[in-house]
Symmetry: C2
């Protein structure tokens, strides 16, 4: 089994109100020096050898990301036993 | 400015209904071979040199993760100009 990570982030031109809320909250806990925060999603998939890179791309673009407003990245991370 | 990534994932002993919904949906698009999916959050922070690793840990544990049910990981990814 291999672990595959799919990162889904809002496109840079899309406003990210969740990230902006974190930026504002940083002031309240006394942290300066963080100029921007963007919030996205991280999926960890356990896949076997029958899953091709094309399958992973289809999974990411069909189920995991809304490609109108989000970009995704498929990272084949590590192979566990 | 450096980019820091904070990954927040549900603890392994916590049920993840969002990930399970993805697993069920995979059958509908004809993909087999994915045994488990877990969904978490990914934060990308733009920080300057005044932000210490201790600050980042405090940001992650206070604002970004609910440490009762989630684990987090701080990854100092790359330094952009």
């Amino acid at each position: 089994m291999a672990r595959v990570v799919v990162n889904v982030m809002p496109k840079t031109e899309i406003l990210d109100p969740q990230g902006q809320a974190v930026v504002r909250a940083l002031g309240r806990i006394g942290v300066t020096g963080v100029s921007d925060v963007r919030q996205g999603k991280r999926f960890e998939l356990e896949v076997d050898g029958t899953v091709t890179p094309a399958d992973l791309d289809r999974i990411a673009s069909t189920l995991l990301a809304n490609t109108v407003i989000e970009d995704y990245e498929v990272v084949t991370a590590e192979v566990a036993q």
